[in-house]
Symmetry: C2
Subunit: 91 residues, 2 copies
């Protein structure tokens, strides 16, 4: 929920790749796991971190849990980066 959670979530390449996959379309946990060489529990952990950071939503559909991308959180990251760029003046 904090910007720290967002940055931490984005710091891992597996998690960024999950977001890249979800860019194309919503996917179940199993479909996501298929793309990686690590175990499902490990993917589940990554999904949980992304969820805590609100970078994804999850919704149960029958046996499956469908994950979808949420980029609204990027606003805070963008704001922070913009503010850093503002004041910059080199000597």
């Amino acid at each position: 929920m904090s910007i720290n959670d967002t940055f931490k979530a984005l710091a891992d390449p597996t998690r960024r790749r999950i977001l890249d996959l979800l860019k194309e379309r919503d996917l179940t946990a199993g479909e996501i796991a298929e793309h990686f060489d690590i175990t499902k529990p490990s993917i589940s952990n990554h999904l949980n971190l992304l969820k805590q950071a609100q970078l994804v939503w999850d919704e149960r559909k029958g046996q499956h849990i469908v994950y979808s991308l949420n980029t609204t959180v990027f606003q805070d990251v963008l704001k922070w980066m913009m503010e850093l760029q503002q004041t910059q003046s080199k000597g």
Copy 2:
């Protein structure tokens, strides 16, 4: 030098605060360290990670080493985030 280095560098709150400090003006390693409760070697390590990610430049001036902010690397991060937002369409 990779986007992974950038995200990893930004994932730590101490390092983000260092960037915030450098937004105002260039600072020596010692001046930066004064703002934190951790030791100078630890700050030095953080500065090194920021340097590897090219988020800061360093320049020796006499006894001091002056650090300055470099936000050009943000372009890659922005691009990645923009691309994620593009294709998004909810059902």
